[in-house]
């Protein structure tokens, strides 16, 4: 389950961001999960709670708020914008490859308008730490 490695990265990034912001308690971590990576929201929430470092006081009361984001592609050749339902990735093996490395979509997805593999993923790629909410002992 490689989601655990990504969840671990989110928790460590949150702790580092809290350090940078002078935050002593993290109340809420807002995470975005991109549609392209096909990570289930419930599974990722479970993963986040499973990788919490034991006894970390800043995370004692933390709540994870995981939101899904739809993927959007923008063709570099013709400018056409499109979503996941507009492309055929070619089967479960390709879905699984993209699940591990979303950039593998460039091997399998083609612009539905012009057929180009040259596109940007403008939204909904993978895991992003959107925002932290918390407080400091200084108020």
């Amino acid at each position: 389950m490689h989601e655990l490695a990504l969840a671990d990265a989110v928790v460590k990034a949150a702790l580092r961001a809290a350090d940078d912001a002078g935050m002593d308690r993290i109340g809420r971590v807002i995470v975005k999960v991109g549609e392209l990576q096909q990570i289930e929201k419930d599974l990722f929430e479970f993963s986040l709670t499973n990788v919490l470092p034991a006894g970390e006081p800043r995370l004692q009361d933390v709540v994870f708020d995981v939101a899904e984001e739809a993927v959007r592609f923008e063709c570099k050749a013709c400018g056409h914008g499109y979503g996941r339902a507009d492309v055929d990735l070619g089967g479960d093996d390709h879905d699984e490859a993209i699940h591990f490395i979303p950039e593998l979509s460039h091997a399998f997805a083609r612009c539905p308008s012009c057929g180009s593999p040259d596109f940007d993923i403008t939204a909904g790629r993978g895991i992003t730490l959107e925002r932290l909410e918390g407080s400091s002992d200084d108020g």
């Binding site: 655990l4 490695a5 990504l6 990265a9 990034a13 580092r16 460039h106 993923i121 992003t128 925002r131």
Partner: protein, 247 residues
């Protein structure tokens, strides 16, 4: 906290914490034999009993699996993904995911794929991780210099007129960026020129030796027993020394 954070870069040091040395096998031009050198080096070190990883960073043209005759298949998944174990080498390549499909990537897309693999790959304890770099001084070279501060480079070049100037450019850049150098290896040497060893001396970089152009090398690709009989294998096995760590 202002802008959104990409969490992947935060864990790279930790994911590589069990790796004693990280050597990028690089070259300023394509076709100089980087992948064959990187794969053969990994094989030679594994044969010496070292714990070795090999990470093919030439995402658009991965070939280490071809050099070592390793089948493409999905890696196992646990707390991250486990590199394939082949010939005593822990290997990671996008070819294990993409198969034979072409993978066209722009620079930022290549950077993102690199970040993803660095964040989720479980290298474990290694004496050395060999990175097979794509040619040139582009995005991936700059990414690994930035993301892996303890990186060392082994530069592959030769004395051809179309190569030697770019080798010097690469040496100047690595010196400017203070990237430690394992040394400069002359590969596919033809004739008796000493331009490469002279360049190494002028730039105070160890010269690792010269491997003559070997018309039989092609037959050794994909067959590790034949690779072990090549002059390239014997040269890299002799000149690149990696200590065995205690773990």
């Amino acid at each position: 906290m202002g802008e959104a954070i990409d969490p992947r870069a935060v864990v790279i040091d930790e994911r590589l914490a069990g790796v004693q040395r990280i050597i990028g096998v690089t070259g300023s031009k394509g076709g100089i034999g980087k992948s064959v050198v990187a794969s053969t080096l990994a094989l030679a070190l594994a044969d010496q009993g070292r714990r070795v990883g090999l990470f093919d960073l030439d995402f658009t043209s991965p070939s280490d699996h071809i050099v070592l005759g390793v089948n493409r298949s999905f890696p196992d998944e646990q707390f991250g993904i486990d590199p394939h174990l082949a010939h005593g080498i822990r290997m990671m390549s996008v070819a294990f995911f993409a198969g034979d499909a072409p993978l066209p990537l722009r620079g930022d897309q290549s950077t993102s794929a690199l970040l993803e693999l660095l964040a989720i790959t479980r290298w474990g304890d290694l004496d050395v991780l060999v990175l097979d770099m794509p040619p040139g001084l582009g995005d991936t070279s700059l990414d690994v210099i930035h993301l892996i501060p303890r990186l060392e480079f082994l530069l592959v070049g030769n004395g051809s007129k179309v190569v030697i100037e770019s080798v010097e450019r690469a040496l100047r850049l690595f010196h400017e960026l203070e990237v430690p150098m394992v040394g400069l290896l002359e590969n596919m040497k033809r004739g008796v020129g000493e331009a490469v060893s002279t360049l190494a001396a002028e730039n105070l970089v160890p010269f690792l030796g010269a491997v003559e152009f070997d018309p039989e090398l092609e037959r050794a690709l994909g067959n590790v027993d034949r690779l072990r009989a090549t002059a390239l294998y014997k040269t890299v096995a002799a000149v690149v020394r990696i200590d065995r760590s205690g773990g």
